[in-house]
């Protein structure tokens, strides 16, 4: 729903809270909600956050401790079930990437899992692409492709709806649904094809992106660094960025303390702090860390890039830095591979 001038996942009590006809304009460094034509409910793309904060909490207590005698107490989140309505294909792809990271077989994160298990995901096909979208080039959208419990496609005359999981099936079984006819199925396909054709941006293919690691000395890194404010907006809105910082917070009486984790960003100074020095002391090194990890390093770690083409890092960057253009420039211009 719309809140504070952006689409957000917030608690809803009635369908009227989904503003009919609302759409969004997204450009580098710009995000605006606008009343469009018609009364469709899902004509917007997304707001600053995807599913991430609902599984990987921006700030949470991991455990608490008492000093005398020293004891550690687990503090798992008490998460009530929630349904997220209107999740897009790019964000479901991002969720699957975060699942792999946090529920990695060697070290599953119980805090993430507790929240993750309580989610019911109602996905929706995108009917339009924002100017900043490029999910076609990453293979993650704009039509739903798994990862949801119930899928929705919004037609002018109503909704097509189908189950994507057993959990979703138990719900759709209880709804009085009419079978879709061929014309409706054709409309559904046409809508997502049209959304795909609207996309103006694209990311180079994974094999090419792996070459970023061979262009670490390219002069274009400095060009981006001169524009980048190292504010960390891109990592905060990115649906796959997972870095977090942990720290102790002591009670005022000194008897108890707790371990708190919160989202960190590779653009922060402390991210690379080690024994009194910073491994990444300047903006160039931090932007390069972010882009090379996201687009190349992730491929070795997870078998795919860490980008699902949502374009949030472009819209929410205060100076409008566009990773698709920066990556292309570094891969294209000038110097040969080293």
């Amino acid at each position: 729903m719309a809140r504070d001038g952006a689409i957000q996942f917030a608690e809803m009590t009635s369908v009227e809270q989904l503003s009919p006809g609302l759409t969004n304009e997204q450009q580098p460094g710009r995000y605006r909600l606008r009343q469009g034509d018609g009364d469709r409910l899902f004509d917007w793309n997304h707001g600053p956050q995807g599913v991430k904060p609902h599984c990987f909490s921006p700030r949470e207590v991991l455990w608490s401790e008492q000093g005398e005698p020293l004891r550690f107490q687990p503090r798992l989140p008490a998460q009530a079930p929630i349904a997220l309505v209107g999740v897009r294909a790019c964000d479901l792809a991002a969720l699957s990437i975060q699942d792999k990271h946090f529920l990695h077989a060697d070290a599953p994160d119980p805090h993430y899992r507790q929240r993750r298990e309580q989610l019911l995901l109602i996905g929706v096909d995108c009917a339009h692409s924002a100017e900043t979208c490029f999910c076609v080039s990453t293979g993650d959208g704009p039509a739903l492709d798994g990862g949801y419990d119930i899928g929705i496609s919004e037609l002018d005359e109503g909704f097509l709806l189908w189950p994507g999981s057993d959990k979703g099936q138990t719900i759709t079984d209880r709804l009085a649904l009419q079978p879709a006819d061929d014309r409706q199925l054709e409309s559904m396909l046409r809508i997502s094809t049209q959304a795909a054709e609207e996309q103006q941006r694209s990311l180079p293919q994974p094999a090419e992106l792996r070459r970023l690691y061979r262009r670490l000395e390219h002069s274009h890194w400095q060009d981006v660094a001169d524009r980048c404010l190292a504010c960390g907006n891109c990592t905060a809105v990115c649906p796959t960025c997972f870095c977090y910082d942990t720290g102790h917070e002591m009670s005022l009486d000194g008897e108890n303390a707790q371990m708190v984790r919160q989202w960190d960003s590779c653009f922060s100074a402390g991210h690379s702090y080690m024994a009194g020095l910073l491994v990444r002391a300047n903006v160039l090194q931090r932007y390069r860390q972010w882009l090379t990890h996201k687009l190349a390093g992730w491929q070795e770690q997870q078998g795919r890039t860490g980008c699902t083409g949502c374009g949030r890092c472009i819209s929410w960057c205060p100076v409008g830095i566009d990773l698709t253009q920066e990556a292309a420039a570094i891969l294209r211009e000038g110097s040969v591979d080293v």
Binding site: W63, L70, P108, F242, D245, H248, M274, G297, Q299
Partner: protein
């Protein structure tokens, strides 16, 4: 599911001051079962929590066959390690671990082992030296090159003397700044490498210390013909989770905490010496 972030309490048995800024804590888990189940290999580390202050990564320096305790040698470099220097026998800390990949013991078995270390007595390497010395028949010639900035910085001096008297063990010491009683060489530890008669083909090198020192050592070793997959070293980075999740310790696509901290040169060759990685 067990909570991978939750520390278990350990009690300090013994505290040894190794130098003005370096101390060793011998400890054991409060829970006997946890102590019995604790199994690590040299080069691995624990995350050690000081109540209310913080949690830091510290390598384990004793021999894994010591089943009743484990040792951490700590240098005071920051807020948490400084707080830990005040710990005394009977005090408690939180422990998570062991984490990471240790030294390539199977790869080294049967080979000559060259150990190169710089700085103030590099704890991760000491753990593997002890391991080799306690299993002398499983390894070939052992050469230890230890460099320090100032000759008075060297800790475990008696230990080096004892090791140097073992059969087919050579210990070479180097200090940039020396006092009169120094019996080692004056200069860089990496200069000693050129004087070695490495039996290429049956030698493996294990390195630990400042990155610039390690890079100089790697260059020397490679020029002498040692293969990239026979050069191993322990890396240090900002580590908070220990399991490849918090993202801080990455060097390119590698997590130092999970894929390392011990790496083979061929794994990190593209990033060594590139500022910012």
């Amino acid at each position: 599911m067990s909570d991978l972030y939750l520390p278990r309490t350990a009690v300090i048995d013994q505290r040894t001051q190794e130098s003005p800024t370096i101390f060793t804590l011998r400890m054991q888990f409060e829970d006997d079962h946890a102590q019995q189940a604790f199994d690590f290999s040299p080069g691995q580390f624990n995350m050690v929590t000081l109540f209310g202050v913080g949690e830091i990564a510290i390598s384990i320096v004793n021999d894994p066959q010591d089943s009743h305790f484990f040792d951490h040698t700590i240098r005071v470099v920051g807020r948490v390690s400084e707080g830990m220097s005040g710990l005394r026998p009977g005090d408690r800390v939180g422990i998570r671990g062991p984490f990471g990949r240790g030294w390539p013991l199977d790869e080294a078995r049967g080979k000559d082992v060259l150990l190169v270390t710089g700085g103030l007595g590099c704890a991760p390497l000491v753990s593997v030296i002890r391991y080799l010395m306690n299993r002398r028949d499983q390894f070939g010639h052992i050469t230890i090159l230890q460099g320090v900035k100032h000759s008075s910085d060297l800790i475990w001096r008696e230990q080096y003397d004892i090791w140097s008297r073992e059969h087919e063990v050579k210990v070479l010491l180097a200090a940039d700044v020396v006092t009169r009683e120094w019996r080692g060489q004056q200069g860089m530890v990496t200069e000693l490498i050129g004087e070695l008669n490495l039996r290429i083909g049956r030698a493996i090198a294990l390195l630990c210390g400042p990155e610039l020192m390690m890079m100089a050592a790697i260059a020397n070793l490679r020029s002498m013909g040692l293969a990239d997959n026979q050069i191993w070293f322990s890396m240090e980075r900002n580590m908070q989770c220990g399991v490849g999740q918090c993202g801080h310790c990455q060097i390119g696509p590698k997590y130092v905490c999970r894929d390392g901290p011990v790496f083979c040169y061929s794994e990190l060759a593209d990033f060594m010496g590139t500022k910012g990685f």
